[in-house]
Protein backbone atom coordinates (compact mmCIF):
# COMPACT_ATOMS: atom_id res chain seq x y z
CA UNK A 1 0.00 0.00 0.00
CA UNK A 2 2.71 2.36 1.00
CA UNK A 3 4.47 1.58 -2.24
CA UNK A 4 1.43 2.64 -4.19
CA UNK A 5 1.06 5.85 -2.25
CA UNK A 6 4.67 6.75 -2.68
CA UNK A 7 4.42 5.90 -6.38
CA UNK A 8 1.41 8.16 -6.77
CA UNK A 9 3.00 10.97 -4.82
CA UNK A 10 6.37 10.74 -6.49
CA UNK A 11 4.77 11.19 -9.91
CA UNK A 12 2.22 13.76 -8.85
CA UNK A 13 2.93 16.04 -11.81
CA UNK A 14 1.87 13.30 -14.20
CA UNK A 15 -1.30 12.68 -12.26
CA UNK A 16 -2.09 16.37 -12.36
CA UNK A 17 -1.76 16.59 -16.09
CA UNK A 18 -3.72 13.41 -16.64
CA UNK A 19 -6.56 14.69 -14.48
CA UNK A 20 -6.57 17.99 -16.35
CA UNK A 21 -6.45 16.16 -19.65
CA UNK A 22 -9.47 14.12 -18.65
CA UNK A 23 -11.39 17.17 -17.47
CA UNK A 24 -10.74 18.77 -20.84
CA UNK A 25 -11.73 15.67 -22.75
CA UNK A 26 -14.86 15.28 -20.64
CA UNK A 27 -15.92 18.84 -21.36
CA UNK A 28 -15.26 18.46 -25.06
CA UNK A 29 -17.30 15.30 -25.33
CA UNK A 30 -20.12 15.77 -22.85
CA UNK A 31 -20.87 19.47 -22.68
CA UNK A 32 -23.70 20.73 -24.76
CA UNK A 33 -22.67 24.34 -25.01
CA UNK A 34 -20.09 25.04 -27.66
CA UNK A 35 -18.22 27.63 -25.61
CA UNK A 36 -17.88 25.13 -22.78
CA UNK A 37 -16.49 22.66 -25.28
CA UNK A 38 -14.00 25.26 -26.41
CA UNK A 39 -13.00 25.85 -22.80
CA UNK A 40 -12.57 22.11 -22.40
CA UNK A 41 -10.31 22.10 -25.43
CA UNK A 42 -8.24 24.83 -23.92
CA UNK A 43 -7.89 22.92 -20.65
CA UNK A 44 -6.80 19.92 -22.67
CA UNK A 45 -4.06 21.88 -24.35
CA UNK A 46 -2.99 23.54 -21.12
CA UNK A 47 -2.61 20.17 -19.43
CA UNK A 48 0.01 19.23 -21.99
CA UNK A 49 1.80 22.53 -21.54
CA UNK A 50 1.88 21.84 -17.83
CA UNK A 51 3.28 18.39 -18.47
CA UNK A 52 6.10 19.78 -20.55
CA UNK A 53 6.94 22.47 -18.05
CA UNK A 54 6.88 20.01 -15.16
CA UNK A 55 9.36 17.64 -16.78
CA UNK A 56 11.96 20.34 -17.00
CA UNK A 57 11.90 21.06 -13.31
CA UNK A 58 14.90 20.20 -11.26
CA UNK A 59 15.19 20.39 -7.49
CA UNK A 60 17.19 23.47 -6.46
CA UNK A 61 17.49 24.29 -10.13
CA UNK A 62 17.80 27.83 -11.22
CA UNK A 63 17.27 29.89 -14.30
CA UNK A 64 19.67 29.06 -17.10
CA UNK A 65 21.47 32.39 -17.03
CA UNK A 66 25.15 33.07 -16.78
CA UNK A 67 25.94 34.28 -13.27
CA UNK A 68 28.93 36.26 -12.13
CA UNK A 69 30.54 34.30 -9.37
CA UNK A 70 30.76 36.66 -6.36
CA UNK A 71 33.96 35.02 -5.21
CA UNK A 72 36.02 34.71 -8.32
CA UNK A 73 34.26 37.34 -10.36
CA UNK A 74 34.20 35.13 -13.46
CA UNK A 75 31.28 34.20 -15.66
CA UNK A 76 30.43 30.59 -15.17
CA UNK A 77 27.81 28.43 -16.79
CA UNK A 78 26.97 25.57 -14.43
CA UNK A 79 24.70 23.33 -16.44
CA UNK A 80 24.05 21.04 -13.50
CA UNK A 81 22.27 23.79 -11.62
CA UNK A 82 19.98 24.88 -14.39
CA UNK A 83 16.51 23.68 -15.04
CA UNK A 84 16.03 22.49 -18.60
CA UNK A 85 15.02 25.52 -20.68
CA UNK A 86 14.10 23.67 -23.85
CA UNK A 87 10.60 22.50 -22.81
CA UNK A 88 9.80 26.06 -21.84
CA UNK A 89 10.81 27.27 -25.23
CA UNK A 90 8.78 24.58 -26.88
CA UNK A 91 5.78 25.49 -24.80
CA UNK A 92 6.05 29.09 -25.81
CA UNK A 93 5.23 27.89 -29.29
CA UNK A 94 2.53 25.58 -28.00
CA UNK A 95 0.90 28.45 -26.13
CA UNK A 96 0.83 30.49 -29.31
CA UNK A 97 -0.75 27.56 -31.08
CA UNK A 98 -3.37 27.12 -28.42
CA UNK A 99 -4.22 30.82 -28.46
CA UNK A 100 -4.60 30.68 -32.23
CA UNK A 101 -6.78 27.59 -31.97
CA UNK A 102 -8.90 29.30 -29.39
CA UNK A 103 -9.19 32.33 -31.62
CA UNK A 104 -10.42 30.33 -34.59
CA UNK A 105 -12.74 28.27 -32.44
CA UNK A 106 -14.33 31.39 -30.97
CA UNK A 107 -14.60 32.99 -34.39
CA UNK A 108 -16.41 29.94 -35.65
CA UNK A 109 -18.61 29.97 -32.55
CA UNK A 110 -19.60 33.55 -33.37
CA UNK A 111 -20.44 32.53 -36.91
CA UNK A 112 -22.51 29.66 -35.59
CA UNK A 113 -24.32 31.94 -33.18
CA UNK A 114 -25.16 34.36 -35.98
CA UNK A 115 -26.49 31.50 -38.04
CA UNK A 116 -28.57 29.68 -35.45
CA UNK A 117 -29.03 32.22 -32.62
CA UNK A 118 -27.85 29.67 -30.13
CA UNK A 119 -24.72 27.90 -29.00
CA UNK A 120 -26.45 24.85 -27.52
CA UNK A 121 -25.56 21.90 -29.69
CA UNK A 122 -28.88 20.08 -29.39
CA UNK A 123 -30.79 23.19 -30.42
CA UNK A 124 -28.54 23.64 -33.43
CA UNK A 125 -29.09 20.03 -34.44
CA UNK A 126 -32.80 20.46 -34.00
CA UNK A 127 -32.70 23.43 -36.36
CA UNK A 128 -30.62 21.53 -38.90
CA UNK A 129 -32.99 18.61 -38.79
CA UNK A 130 -35.99 20.85 -39.27
CA UNK A 131 -34.64 22.21 -42.56
Amino acid sequence: MEDVISFVISKYNYWCYIVLLMIGLYAMIVKNNLVKKIIGMNIFQTAIILFYVSISVKKEGTLPTIIIDPVTGTHTARAADYINPLPHVLMLTAIVVSVATLGIALALAIKIYKEYDTLEEDEIFAQIRKK
Binding site: A94, A100, K111, E115
Partner: protein, 505 residues
Protein backbone atom coordinates in the same frame (compact mmCIF):
# COMPACT_ATOMS: atom_id res chain seq x y z
CA UNK B 1 21.20 29.02 -54.44
CA UNK B 2 20.64 25.35 -55.04
CA UNK B 3 21.82 24.23 -51.65
CA UNK B 4 19.19 26.47 -50.03
CA UNK B 5 16.26 24.89 -51.82
CA UNK B 6 14.98 23.06 -48.73
CA UNK B 7 14.66 26.39 -46.93
CA UNK B 8 13.25 28.31 -49.89
CA UNK B 9 10.50 25.78 -50.42
CA UNK B 10 9.04 26.68 -47.02
CA UNK B 11 10.04 30.28 -46.48
CA UNK B 12 8.85 31.70 -49.78
CA UNK B 13 5.21 30.72 -49.31
CA UNK B 14 5.42 31.59 -45.61
CA UNK B 15 6.61 35.11 -46.27
CA UNK B 16 4.34 35.54 -49.25
CA UNK B 17 1.41 35.03 -46.89
CA UNK B 18 2.19 38.36 -45.26
CA UNK B 19 2.64 40.03 -48.62
CA UNK B 20 -0.69 38.68 -49.79
CA UNK B 21 -2.46 40.09 -46.74
CA UNK B 22 -0.91 43.47 -47.35
CA UNK B 23 -1.65 43.31 -51.05
CA UNK B 24 -5.25 42.48 -50.23
CA UNK B 25 -5.59 45.89 -48.60
CA UNK B 26 -4.21 47.67 -51.62
CA UNK B 27 -5.70 45.83 -54.53
CA UNK B 28 -7.47 42.50 -54.47
CA UNK B 29 -6.21 41.65 -57.93
CA UNK B 30 -2.64 41.39 -56.64
CA UNK B 31 -3.33 38.49 -54.27
CA UNK B 32 -3.68 35.78 -56.86
CA UNK B 33 -0.45 36.44 -58.79
CA UNK B 34 1.58 36.63 -55.59
CA UNK B 35 0.11 33.40 -54.27
CA UNK B 36 0.63 31.59 -57.53
CA UNK B 37 4.19 32.87 -57.79
CA UNK B 38 4.99 31.67 -54.27
CA UNK B 39 3.50 28.25 -54.90
CA UNK B 40 5.26 28.12 -58.24
CA UNK B 41 8.57 28.65 -56.49
CA UNK B 42 7.74 25.83 -54.08
CA UNK B 43 6.80 23.55 -56.93
CA UNK B 44 10.01 24.35 -58.76
CA UNK B 45 12.05 23.69 -55.60
CA UNK B 46 10.26 20.42 -54.93
CA UNK B 47 10.85 19.15 -58.45
CA UNK B 48 14.54 20.06 -58.42
CA UNK B 49 14.86 18.39 -55.03
CA UNK B 50 13.16 15.31 -56.42
CA UNK B 51 15.62 15.19 -59.27
CA UNK B 52 18.60 15.56 -56.97
CA UNK B 53 17.53 12.89 -54.48
CA UNK B 54 16.45 10.35 -57.09
CA UNK B 55 18.41 7.15 -56.74
CA UNK B 56 18.87 7.38 -53.04
CA UNK B 57 20.72 10.58 -52.16
CA UNK B 58 19.78 12.42 -48.96
CA UNK B 59 19.95 16.18 -48.50
CA UNK B 60 20.18 17.54 -44.96
CA UNK B 61 19.78 21.27 -44.50
CA UNK B 62 20.43 22.90 -41.14
CA UNK B 63 18.31 25.97 -40.70
CA UNK B 64 20.47 28.95 -39.72
CA UNK B 65 23.52 26.75 -39.78
CA UNK B 66 22.72 25.22 -36.39
CA UNK B 67 23.77 21.62 -36.42
CA UNK B 68 21.35 19.08 -35.02
CA UNK B 69 20.44 18.13 -32.37
CA UNK B 70 20.38 21.80 -31.30
CA UNK B 71 19.15 23.35 -34.49
CA UNK B 72 16.27 22.32 -36.68
CA UNK B 73 17.31 20.37 -39.71
CA UNK B 74 15.31 19.83 -42.86
CA UNK B 75 15.80 16.50 -44.54
CA UNK B 76 14.97 15.57 -48.10
CA UNK B 77 15.21 11.90 -48.83
CA UNK B 78 13.47 9.53 -51.22
CA UNK B 79 10.66 9.02 -48.73
CA UNK B 80 9.49 12.59 -48.61
CA UNK B 81 10.56 14.16 -51.89
CA UNK B 82 7.70 12.47 -53.71
CA UNK B 83 5.18 13.67 -51.16
CA UNK B 84 6.74 17.11 -51.41
CA UNK B 85 6.13 17.22 -55.14
CA UNK B 86 2.61 15.93 -54.66
CA UNK B 87 1.78 18.62 -52.10
CA UNK B 88 3.34 21.44 -54.08
CA UNK B 89 1.75 20.44 -57.35
CA UNK B 90 -1.72 19.86 -55.90
CA UNK B 91 -1.61 23.29 -54.25
CA UNK B 92 -0.33 24.86 -57.46
CA UNK B 93 -2.84 23.26 -59.81
CA UNK B 94 -5.74 23.77 -57.47
CA UNK B 95 -5.09 27.49 -57.10
CA UNK B 96 -5.23 27.89 -60.87
CA UNK B 97 -8.25 25.69 -61.30
CA UNK B 98 -10.31 27.41 -58.63
CA UNK B 99 -9.44 31.04 -59.38
CA UNK B 100 -12.84 31.86 -60.82
CA UNK B 101 -14.63 29.97 -58.13
CA UNK B 102 -12.80 31.83 -55.38
CA UNK B 103 -13.61 35.17 -56.95
CA UNK B 104 -17.30 34.37 -56.91
CA UNK B 105 -17.38 32.58 -53.60
CA UNK B 106 -15.47 35.15 -51.53
CA UNK B 107 -15.69 38.47 -53.36
CA UNK B 108 -14.45 40.48 -50.39
CA UNK B 109 -12.26 37.91 -48.69
CA UNK B 110 -9.86 37.13 -51.51
CA UNK B 111 -6.87 38.38 -49.56
CA UNK B 112 -7.78 36.31 -46.52
CA UNK B 113 -8.47 33.23 -48.59
CA UNK B 114 -5.18 33.27 -50.44
CA UNK B 115 -3.26 34.03 -47.25
CA UNK B 116 -4.76 30.99 -45.60
CA UNK B 117 -4.28 28.98 -48.75
CA UNK B 118 -0.58 29.70 -48.95
CA UNK B 119 -0.08 29.16 -45.23
CA UNK B 120 -1.83 25.83 -45.46
CA UNK B 121 0.50 24.76 -48.23
CA UNK B 122 3.47 26.00 -46.18
CA UNK B 123 2.36 23.94 -43.21
CA UNK B 124 2.02 20.77 -45.22
CA UNK B 125 5.29 21.25 -47.08
CA UNK B 126 6.95 21.89 -43.72
CA UNK B 127 5.52 18.73 -42.19
CA UNK B 128 6.89 16.75 -45.07
CA UNK B 129 10.35 18.27 -45.17
CA UNK B 130 11.15 18.75 -41.50
CA UNK B 131 13.53 16.45 -39.68
CA UNK B 132 12.54 17.58 -36.23
CA UNK B 133 9.77 15.97 -34.22
CA UNK B 134 8.62 19.11 -32.46
CA UNK B 135 8.86 21.26 -35.55
CA UNK B 136 6.55 18.75 -37.15
CA UNK B 137 3.98 19.51 -34.44
CA UNK B 138 4.19 23.24 -35.05
CA UNK B 139 3.78 22.87 -38.78
CA UNK B 140 1.00 20.37 -38.20
CA UNK B 141 -0.83 23.06 -36.30
CA UNK B 142 -0.11 25.71 -38.93
CA UNK B 143 -1.65 23.48 -41.54
CA UNK B 144 -4.52 22.51 -39.25
CA UNK B 145 -5.37 26.04 -38.11
CA UNK B 146 -5.46 27.40 -41.63
CA UNK B 147 -7.39 24.32 -42.63
CA UNK B 148 -10.04 24.98 -39.95
CA UNK B 149 -10.39 28.53 -41.17
CA UNK B 150 -10.60 27.54 -44.84
CA UNK B 151 -13.16 24.85 -44.14
CA UNK B 152 -15.14 27.20 -41.91
CA UNK B 153 -15.56 29.68 -44.76
CA UNK B 154 -18.17 27.54 -46.46
CA UNK B 155 -21.91 27.05 -46.44
CA UNK B 156 -24.32 27.43 -43.52
CA UNK B 157 -23.28 24.26 -41.81
CA UNK B 158 -19.58 24.70 -42.43
CA UNK B 159 -18.71 26.51 -39.16
CA UNK B 160 -20.19 23.79 -37.00
CA UNK B 161 -18.49 21.04 -38.99
CA UNK B 162 -15.23 22.93 -38.83
CA UNK B 163 -15.59 23.44 -35.07
CA UNK B 164 -15.98 19.70 -34.62
CA UNK B 165 -12.88 19.26 -36.70
CA UNK B 166 -11.07 21.69 -34.39
CA UNK B 167 -11.97 19.61 -31.34
CA UNK B 168 -10.85 16.34 -32.84
CA UNK B 169 -7.89 17.84 -34.63
CA UNK B 170 -6.68 19.43 -31.42
CA UNK B 171 -6.96 16.18 -29.56
CA UNK B 172 -4.98 14.48 -32.29
CA UNK B 173 -2.26 17.10 -32.36
CA UNK B 174 -2.04 17.17 -28.55
CA UNK B 175 -1.63 13.41 -28.43
CA UNK B 176 1.19 13.70 -30.89
CA UNK B 177 2.75 16.46 -28.78
CA UNK B 178 2.43 14.31 -25.68
CA UNK B 179 4.18 11.46 -27.42
CA UNK B 180 7.00 13.75 -28.49
CA UNK B 181 7.25 14.89 -24.85
CA UNK B 182 7.79 11.34 -23.67
CA UNK B 183 10.35 10.74 -26.40
CA UNK B 184 12.11 13.86 -25.19
CA UNK B 185 12.05 12.67 -21.59
CA UNK B 186 13.60 9.38 -22.57
CA UNK B 187 16.17 10.61 -25.07
CA UNK B 188 16.71 14.32 -24.56
CA UNK B 189 16.48 14.92 -28.26
CA UNK B 190 13.91 16.05 -30.76
CA UNK B 191 15.81 15.56 -33.97
CA UNK B 192 14.54 12.55 -35.87
CA UNK B 193 17.95 11.34 -36.99
CA UNK B 194 19.22 11.73 -33.48
CA UNK B 195 16.21 9.98 -32.04
CA UNK B 196 16.61 7.03 -34.34
CA UNK B 197 20.22 6.69 -33.22
CA UNK B 198 19.42 6.85 -29.51
CA UNK B 199 16.18 4.89 -29.41
CA UNK B 200 17.32 1.33 -30.23
CA UNK B 201 19.27 1.18 -26.99
CA UNK B 202 16.16 1.82 -24.90
CA UNK B 203 13.50 -0.05 -26.86
CA UNK B 204 12.66 -2.15 -23.82
CA UNK B 205 11.41 0.95 -21.98
CA UNK B 206 7.68 1.33 -21.38
CA UNK B 207 8.02 5.08 -21.86
CA UNK B 208 9.07 4.55 -25.46
CA UNK B 209 6.20 2.19 -26.09
CA UNK B 210 3.75 4.72 -24.66
CA UNK B 211 5.30 7.53 -26.68
CA UNK B 212 5.05 5.47 -29.87
CA UNK B 213 1.45 4.47 -29.31
CA UNK B 214 0.27 7.94 -28.31
CA UNK B 215 2.03 9.56 -31.29
CA UNK B 216 0.37 7.09 -33.60
CA UNK B 217 -3.03 7.59 -32.03
CA UNK B 218 -2.69 11.31 -32.54
CA UNK B 219 -1.80 10.82 -36.20
CA UNK B 220 -4.62 8.31 -36.67
CA UNK B 221 -7.10 10.92 -35.49
CA UNK B 222 -5.54 13.49 -37.79
CA UNK B 223 -5.68 11.17 -40.80
CA UNK B 224 -9.26 10.15 -40.03
CA UNK B 225 -8.64 6.43 -39.70
CA UNK B 226 -11.91 4.71 -38.93
CA UNK B 227 -13.36 4.92 -36.22
CA UNK B 228 -11.68 8.29 -35.65
CA UNK B 229 -12.99 9.69 -38.91
CA UNK B 230 -16.07 11.46 -37.59
CA UNK B 231 -14.78 14.95 -38.27
CA UNK B 232 -13.93 14.42 -41.90
CA UNK B 233 -17.10 13.92 -43.95
CA UNK B 234 -19.01 16.93 -42.67
CA UNK B 235 -16.01 19.23 -42.67
CA UNK B 236 -15.25 18.43 -46.31
CA UNK B 237 -18.85 18.37 -47.45
CA UNK B 238 -19.97 21.76 -46.22
CA UNK B 239 -16.81 23.67 -47.06
CA UNK B 240 -16.62 25.59 -50.30
CA UNK B 241 -15.25 23.69 -53.25
CA UNK B 242 -11.92 25.55 -53.63
CA UNK B 243 -11.08 24.79 -50.01
CA UNK B 244 -12.19 21.16 -50.23
CA UNK B 245 -10.26 20.45 -53.36
CA UNK B 246 -7.13 21.74 -51.64
CA UNK B 247 -7.58 20.14 -48.25
CA UNK B 248 -9.19 16.81 -49.12
CA UNK B 249 -6.39 15.52 -51.35
CA UNK B 250 -3.62 16.61 -49.03
CA UNK B 251 -4.38 16.52 -45.31
CA UNK B 252 -4.93 12.84 -44.81
CA UNK B 253 -2.11 11.93 -47.17
CA UNK B 254 0.42 14.12 -45.38
CA UNK B 255 -0.63 12.58 -42.08
CA UNK B 256 -0.06 9.15 -43.53
CA UNK B 257 3.36 10.35 -44.56
CA UNK B 258 4.02 11.49 -40.96
CA UNK B 259 3.04 8.03 -39.77
CA UNK B 260 5.43 6.46 -42.28
CA UNK B 261 8.20 8.76 -41.08
CA UNK B 262 7.64 7.84 -37.43
CA UNK B 263 7.30 4.10 -37.94
CA UNK B 264 10.04 3.61 -40.50
CA UNK B 265 12.54 6.30 -39.76
CA UNK B 266 12.31 7.47 -36.15
CA UNK B 267 11.64 3.98 -34.92
CA UNK B 268 13.07 0.99 -36.72
CA UNK B 269 10.70 -1.22 -38.70
CA UNK B 270 11.80 -4.14 -36.55
CA UNK B 271 10.44 -2.31 -33.54
CA UNK B 272 7.28 -0.97 -35.15
CA UNK B 273 6.25 -4.15 -36.91
CA UNK B 274 7.95 -6.74 -34.79
CA UNK B 275 8.75 -6.04 -31.21
CA UNK B 276 5.58 -4.38 -30.05
CA UNK B 277 3.27 -6.71 -31.94
CA UNK B 278 0.48 -4.34 -32.85
CA UNK B 279 0.81 -4.50 -36.61
CA UNK B 280 -1.73 -7.27 -36.98
CA UNK B 281 -4.39 -5.37 -35.07
CA UNK B 282 -3.74 -2.19 -37.02
CA UNK B 283 -4.15 -4.02 -40.31
CA UNK B 284 -7.46 -5.26 -39.01
CA UNK B 285 -8.50 -1.73 -38.11
CA UNK B 286 -7.50 -0.72 -41.65
CA UNK B 287 -9.64 -3.55 -43.05
CA UNK B 288 -12.62 -2.33 -41.07
CA UNK B 289 -11.87 1.22 -42.21
CA UNK B 290 -11.87 0.13 -45.85
CA UNK B 291 -15.10 -1.80 -45.53
CA UNK B 292 -16.94 0.78 -43.46
CA UNK B 293 -15.69 3.68 -45.56
CA UNK B 294 -16.94 1.98 -48.71
CA UNK B 295 -20.28 1.04 -47.18
CA UNK B 296 -20.91 4.50 -45.81
CA UNK B 297 -19.98 6.00 -49.18
CA UNK B 298 -22.66 3.78 -50.64
CA UNK B 299 -25.26 5.32 -48.36
CA UNK B 300 -24.68 8.92 -49.49
CA UNK B 301 -26.76 10.96 -51.88
CA UNK B 302 -24.31 13.81 -52.40
CA UNK B 303 -21.08 13.79 -54.37
CA UNK B 304 -18.87 15.51 -51.83
CA UNK B 305 -19.97 13.37 -48.94
CA UNK B 306 -19.54 10.23 -50.98
CA UNK B 307 -16.01 11.25 -51.92
CA UNK B 308 -15.28 12.07 -48.27
CA UNK B 309 -16.18 8.56 -47.23
CA UNK B 310 -14.09 7.19 -50.08
CA UNK B 311 -11.19 9.09 -48.53
CA UNK B 312 -11.90 7.32 -45.25
CA UNK B 313 -11.61 4.00 -47.08
CA UNK B 314 -8.47 5.10 -48.90
CA UNK B 315 -6.82 5.97 -45.60
CA UNK B 316 -7.43 2.37 -44.66
CA UNK B 317 -5.56 1.29 -47.81
CA UNK B 318 -2.48 3.24 -46.88
CA UNK B 319 -2.44 2.39 -43.19
CA UNK B 320 -3.05 -1.27 -43.93
CA UNK B 321 -0.35 -1.33 -46.60
CA UNK B 322 2.23 0.09 -44.24
CA UNK B 323 1.43 -2.20 -41.35
CA UNK B 324 1.62 -5.31 -43.51
CA UNK B 325 5.28 -4.63 -42.90
CA UNK B 326 6.66 -6.00 -46.15
CA UNK B 327 8.26 -4.27 -49.10
CA UNK B 328 5.33 -4.58 -51.49
CA UNK B 329 2.85 -3.30 -48.93
CA UNK B 330 4.95 -0.28 -47.99
CA UNK B 331 5.66 0.46 -51.64
CA UNK B 332 1.93 0.40 -52.25
CA UNK B 333 1.33 2.66 -49.31
CA UNK B 334 3.85 5.27 -50.44
CA UNK B 335 2.67 5.04 -54.01
CA UNK B 336 -0.90 5.44 -52.91
CA UNK B 337 -0.07 8.67 -51.09
CA UNK B 338 0.82 10.27 -54.42
CA UNK B 339 -1.79 8.50 -56.48
CA UNK B 340 -4.58 9.18 -54.08
CA UNK B 341 -3.63 12.85 -53.89
CA UNK B 342 -3.89 13.03 -57.68
CA UNK B 343 -7.14 11.05 -57.85
CA UNK B 344 -8.93 12.98 -55.13
CA UNK B 345 -7.75 16.26 -56.61
CA UNK B 346 -9.21 15.23 -59.94
CA UNK B 347 -12.51 14.17 -58.40
CA UNK B 348 -12.93 17.17 -56.14
CA UNK B 349 -12.03 19.59 -58.93
CA UNK B 350 -14.64 17.92 -61.11
CA UNK B 351 -17.19 18.19 -58.32
CA UNK B 352 -16.17 21.83 -57.89
CA UNK B 353 -16.98 22.44 -61.54
CA UNK B 354 -20.29 20.64 -61.22
CA UNK B 355 -21.23 22.72 -58.20
CA UNK B 356 -20.08 25.86 -59.96
CA UNK B 357 -22.52 25.17 -62.77
CA UNK B 358 -25.43 23.49 -61.03
CA UNK B 359 -25.07 24.96 -57.53
CA UNK B 360 -25.58 21.57 -55.93
CA UNK B 361 -23.88 18.23 -55.65
CA UNK B 362 -26.91 16.11 -54.91
CA UNK B 363 -27.30 12.98 -57.04
CA UNK B 364 -30.75 14.04 -58.15
CA UNK B 365 -29.39 17.09 -59.90
CA UNK B 366 -26.84 15.26 -62.00
CA UNK B 367 -29.37 14.35 -64.64
CA UNK B 368 -28.15 14.82 -68.17
CA UNK B 369 -24.83 16.09 -66.92
CA UNK B 370 -22.80 13.84 -69.16
CA UNK B 371 -24.21 15.73 -72.08
CA UNK B 372 -24.09 19.13 -70.42
CA UNK B 373 -20.54 18.99 -69.09
CA UNK B 374 -18.78 16.28 -71.10
CA UNK B 375 -15.23 17.28 -70.22
CA UNK B 376 -15.85 17.68 -66.51
CA UNK B 377 -17.74 14.42 -66.35
CA UNK B 378 -15.11 12.73 -68.48
CA UNK B 379 -12.45 13.76 -65.99
CA UNK B 380 -14.72 12.68 -63.16
CA UNK B 381 -15.16 9.26 -64.75
CA UNK B 382 -11.43 8.92 -65.25
CA UNK B 383 -10.88 9.78 -61.60
CA UNK B 384 -13.54 7.24 -60.70
CA UNK B 385 -11.87 4.55 -62.80
CA UNK B 386 -8.64 5.32 -61.03
CA UNK B 387 -10.30 4.97 -57.64
CA UNK B 388 -11.84 1.69 -58.80
CA UNK B 389 -8.38 0.65 -59.94
CA UNK B 390 -8.64 0.15 -63.67
CA UNK B 391 -5.32 -0.04 -65.50
CA UNK B 392 -3.54 1.98 -66.75
CA UNK B 393 -4.75 4.68 -64.35
CA UNK B 394 -2.50 5.19 -61.35
CA UNK B 395 -5.00 3.82 -58.82
CA UNK B 396 -4.52 0.35 -60.24
CA UNK B 397 -0.81 0.22 -59.57
CA UNK B 398 -0.91 1.20 -55.93
CA UNK B 399 -3.66 -1.34 -55.48
CA UNK B 400 -1.48 -3.88 -57.23
CA UNK B 401 1.31 -3.36 -54.73
CA UNK B 402 -1.06 -3.31 -51.79
CA UNK B 403 -2.67 -6.58 -52.83
CA UNK B 404 0.74 -8.11 -53.54
CA UNK B 405 1.78 -7.05 -50.07
CA UNK B 406 -1.33 -8.61 -48.60
CA UNK B 407 -0.68 -11.87 -50.44
CA UNK B 408 2.99 -11.90 -49.46
CA UNK B 409 2.09 -11.31 -45.83
CA UNK B 410 -0.62 -13.94 -46.03
CA UNK B 411 -3.18 -11.37 -44.93
CA UNK B 412 -6.04 -12.50 -47.15
CA UNK B 413 -8.63 -10.46 -45.31
CA UNK B 414 -6.83 -7.31 -46.37
CA UNK B 415 -6.80 -8.51 -49.97
CA UNK B 416 -10.49 -9.29 -49.77
CA UNK B 417 -11.22 -5.86 -48.29
CA UNK B 418 -9.35 -4.14 -51.13
CA UNK B 419 -11.26 -6.11 -53.73
CA UNK B 420 -14.52 -5.46 -51.94
CA UNK B 421 -13.85 -1.76 -51.91
CA UNK B 422 -12.98 -1.83 -55.62
CA UNK B 423 -16.29 -3.48 -56.36
CA UNK B 424 -18.17 -0.99 -54.19
CA UNK B 425 -16.39 1.81 -56.02
CA UNK B 426 -17.64 0.40 -59.31
CA UNK B 427 -21.17 0.68 -57.97
CA UNK B 428 -20.55 4.17 -56.58
CA UNK B 429 -19.21 5.66 -59.76
CA UNK B 430 -21.43 3.87 -62.19
CA UNK B 431 -24.45 4.94 -60.19
CA UNK B 432 -23.42 8.52 -60.88
CA UNK B 433 -22.63 7.77 -64.50
CA UNK B 434 -26.04 6.16 -64.86
CA UNK B 435 -27.79 9.24 -63.51
CA UNK B 436 -25.74 11.55 -65.68
CA UNK B 437 -26.06 9.35 -68.73
CA UNK B 438 -29.59 7.97 -68.73
CA UNK B 439 -31.70 10.46 -66.90
CA UNK B 440 -33.88 12.31 -67.62
CA UNK B 441 -35.45 9.36 -69.42
CA UNK B 442 -36.73 10.07 -72.84
CA UNK B 443 -40.34 9.51 -73.71
CA UNK B 444 -39.62 7.34 -76.69
CA UNK B 445 -37.07 4.72 -77.09
CA UNK B 446 -35.33 4.23 -80.38
CA UNK B 447 -37.32 2.60 -83.02
CA UNK B 448 -37.62 3.88 -86.44
CA UNK B 449 -40.89 5.75 -86.20
CA UNK B 450 -39.95 7.78 -83.16
CA UNK B 451 -36.70 8.83 -84.68
CA UNK B 452 -37.63 12.44 -85.12
CA UNK B 453 -38.71 13.05 -81.53
CA UNK B 454 -35.64 11.15 -80.49
CA UNK B 455 -33.38 13.52 -82.34
CA UNK B 456 -35.02 16.51 -80.77
CA UNK B 457 -34.81 15.01 -77.32
CA UNK B 458 -31.15 14.28 -77.89
CA UNK B 459 -30.41 17.83 -78.86
CA UNK B 460 -32.42 19.51 -76.17
CA UNK B 461 -29.62 19.34 -73.64
CA UNK B 462 -26.98 21.81 -74.67
CA UNK B 463 -23.37 21.78 -73.65
CA UNK B 464 -22.84 24.07 -70.67
CA UNK B 465 -19.29 23.46 -69.62
CA UNK B 466 -17.62 25.34 -66.78
CA UNK B 467 -15.22 28.15 -67.79
CA UNK B 468 -12.09 27.10 -69.61
CA UNK B 469 -9.90 28.24 -66.73
CA UNK B 470 -11.51 25.57 -64.57
CA UNK B 471 -11.84 22.82 -67.15
CA UNK B 472 -8.34 22.86 -68.61
CA UNK B 473 -6.51 22.24 -65.32
CA UNK B 474 -9.01 19.51 -64.54
CA UNK B 475 -8.39 17.79 -67.86
CA UNK B 476 -4.65 18.06 -67.27
CA UNK B 477 -5.02 16.44 -63.85
CA UNK B 478 -7.14 13.69 -65.37
CA UNK B 479 -4.54 13.04 -68.04
CA UNK B 480 -1.94 13.02 -65.35
CA UNK B 481 -3.65 10.05 -63.69
CA UNK B 482 -2.77 7.91 -66.69
CA UNK B 483 0.69 9.41 -67.01
CA UNK B 484 1.35 8.67 -63.34
CA UNK B 485 0.15 5.12 -63.89
CA UNK B 486 2.53 4.56 -66.77
CA UNK B 487 5.38 6.09 -64.78
CA UNK B 488 4.86 3.72 -61.87
CA UNK B 489 7.84 1.58 -62.84
CA UNK B 490 10.18 4.55 -62.83
CA UNK B 491 8.82 5.97 -59.59
CA UNK B 492 9.21 2.68 -57.80
CA UNK B 493 12.64 1.73 -59.09
CA UNK B 494 14.29 5.12 -58.86
CA UNK B 495 12.68 6.56 -55.73
CA UNK B 496 10.41 4.43 -53.60
CA UNK B 497 12.71 1.45 -53.33
CA UNK B 498 15.30 3.68 -51.66
CA UNK B 499 12.70 5.05 -49.29
CA UNK B 500 12.09 1.69 -47.68
CA UNK B 501 14.60 0.68 -45.01
CA UNK B 502 16.95 -1.98 -46.25
CA UNK B 503 15.92 -4.58 -43.66
CA UNK B 504 12.46 -5.04 -45.10
CA UNK B 505 12.00 -7.76 -47.67
Amino acid sequence: MNQHLPAIIVTVPLLSAFVITAAGWLNKKLCFPIAIAALGVSLYCSISLLISVASGKIIIYNLGGWAPPWGISYTVDPLNCLVLVAVASVAFINIIATKKNVEEEYPDKIGAFYTLYVLFATGLIGIVITGDAFNLYVLLEIAALTGYALLGMGSRRAPLASLNYIFLGTIGACFYLLGVGYLYIATGSLNMKDLSAILPAIYHSKTILFAFIICLTGLFIKMALFPMHAWLPNAYTYASSPATSLIAPLTTKVMVYAMLRITLDVFTPQYSFGTIGISHSIVWIAIIAIIMGSLMALAQRGLKKMLSYIIVAEVGYMVGGLWLGNRAGITGSILHIINDAAMTLCLFLAVGNIIYKTKTDSFDDLKGLLKKMPLTMGAFILGGLSIIGVPPTCGFFSKWYLISGGLAAGHYAFVAALLFSSLVNVVLFFRIIEIGFFEPFKEHVSGHHECITDQIAGNRIMIEEAPAGMVIPLVIVAGFLIFLGLMTGNIVTSIIQFAIPAGIS
